[in-house]
Symmetry: C2
Subunit: 303 residues, 2 copies
């Protein structure tokens, strides 16, 4: 079991210019590391505006391979700073096979692997099923690591799990990743308010989003760190989306260690494996799971 | 789909005298129904002090068969009032086979069935593995209903699920019961503070308990109603337990509709199936579940 390590969460607005967006995030990562972060998480699709507000085939041009220019640049920064970085981008894997992915780069700059978003939403202004092929379970050539749907990454500092945005609503994803030994579940995210809904639903939506993720910490005895973008992003023909931030880190008992508002912010918190041990000894939920009775969970619906 | 119906949650202290405890709960049920409740939930092991604080073979005498005197009495009350009642008691099924159960009685007094607690805790002052045989998946003679581990009950007013206390920490239990069509998940509970821990852990424990259950509402788009007891119950040779109440009802978005403190209280709230429909249409989590990728959830641990 590794010792304590520092978590960094970057919450930023995204500009239309890719180079300035990358520069802002690089500066943010440097600041996070200077303040003690050793594993830094960027937000979902961090290097581009949230482009899924409409369906437009031109936008597949935003995708990059992994490794590719953006991930390579982050590998260089990780190596320079001695920090692991979670780099969520729009991945071009092959013509017609694009993913909403997160590359995980270790503190020596090595690419540890890629998590590809498993649960893909599709709602007004979030047309993700048009852009993103869902992550698969069995990946060719990944035999050393086994099934690759949900997965963990052994960084220099500790074992982490990465899930992306819509994944956060699924207790199954958190459970499986925690059973694989993740000490922290990272959730790069791009969630916002429809301006017309904000007054009635804004607060309950942000609260539901925080609550479901804190519940994964509690159910599994792991740290949870969510990185969400901020800022209003317009889209011609729509009302646009106001990304609501509220990035946070909570401990294995669901207690908030750090929380942002709706402005750009960098959060720093500590992951202490001893706290995972303590929490799971005292409220030993994993001991009593009724795995004999859980097969019906593999149904879409029962009845 | 049925129409809206009233939920009643009874939060009471338990005396040492069974007859007076039953009388207090009968009066509470009458009051709840007078205030609009149509499905009333009593707290876990409602008719006795929480007896699991020590291991004592004499205490198996507290158990009753289902049906038996207490459940029959509640069947009479249900029929008189025209309300369904969830009756959680210590069940004597056979010599050496005792369960922590909840009988579900419909509004005409019919016994709809029994849920037997599936997840059994075992911690200092909560020695439940000594007393309670866990509920089983395949129950002899239950073929008409199929597997009976997690289950739902069709009351006159709507389809409900019942889970008991420690079950509440398991997203799998909530998920399966919701997939079976439950509109409300009821959680009869007996959870309290160890007096020596209360200052440091009291608030986070009650908050974690509320959060994990609200998360089941959010993940599944169902109502959740939790009934917990209150009051300090001593036990010679121990510091006793201070049951922390905080019973609540929340809607399918996790919003609290009614919430108690640490005093005896009766909560009334409405379950509106239209709200379930609305919530699941707008945040359609059940549509996107990756059931192909969930089999690893049947492991105890991976890695």
């Amino acid at each position: 079991m590794s010792g304590p390590f520092g978590i960094g969460v970057i919450q930023r607005a995204v500009g239309v210019d890719k180079e300035s967006t990358l520069a802002v995030h690089e500066e943010s990562i440097r600041e996070a590391v200077a303040r003690g972060a050793q594993v830094v998480c960027l937000q979902e699709l961090f290097d581009a505006p949230y482009f899924c507000k409409v369906t437009d085939a031109e936008r597949f041009d935003l995708a990059e391979p992994i490794p590719g220019p953006t991930v390579s640049r982050m590998q260089g920064l990780a190596s320079e700073l001695g920090a692991a970085i979670i780099v969520p981008i729009f991945e071009r894997r092959a013509p017609g096979v694009y993913h909403n992915s997160a590359a995980v780069v270790d503190a020596d700059g090595a690419l540890l692997g890629v998590y590809r978003k498993m649960h893909i939403p599709d709602d007004p202004l979030y047309f993700e099923k048009y852009y993103f092929t869902p992550g698969e379970i069995y990946q060719h050539g990944a035999s050393a690591e086994g099934p690759s749907g949900f997965r963990t990454f052994d960084t220099r500092f500790g074992r982490i799990g990465v899930l992306i945005c819509w994944d956060q609503w699924y207790p199954e994803a958190a459970r499986i990743t925690a059973l694989m030994g993740a000490q922290v579940l990272f959730y790069p995210t791009a969630i916002g308010w429809h301006p017309s809904e904000k007054e009635e639903w804004g607060k309950p939506q942000a609260d539901a989003w925080r609550t479901i993720q804190r519940s994964h910490a509690i159910a599994n005895g792991v740290y949870v760190a969510a990185a969400n973008r901020v800022g209003y992003e317009p889209e011609p023909g729509t009302d646009g989306i106001e990304f609501f931030g509220h990035s946070f880190v909570c401990d294995p008992f669901g207690r908030l260690l750090a929380e942002a508002g709706t402005e750009p912010e960098i959060l720093i918190a500590e992951c202490d494996p001893a706290q995972i041990e303590y929490t799971r000894r005292n409220w030993p939920f994993l001991r009593d799971r009724r795995i004999d009775a859980y097969p019906p969970i593999l149904n879409r619906y029962i009845g």
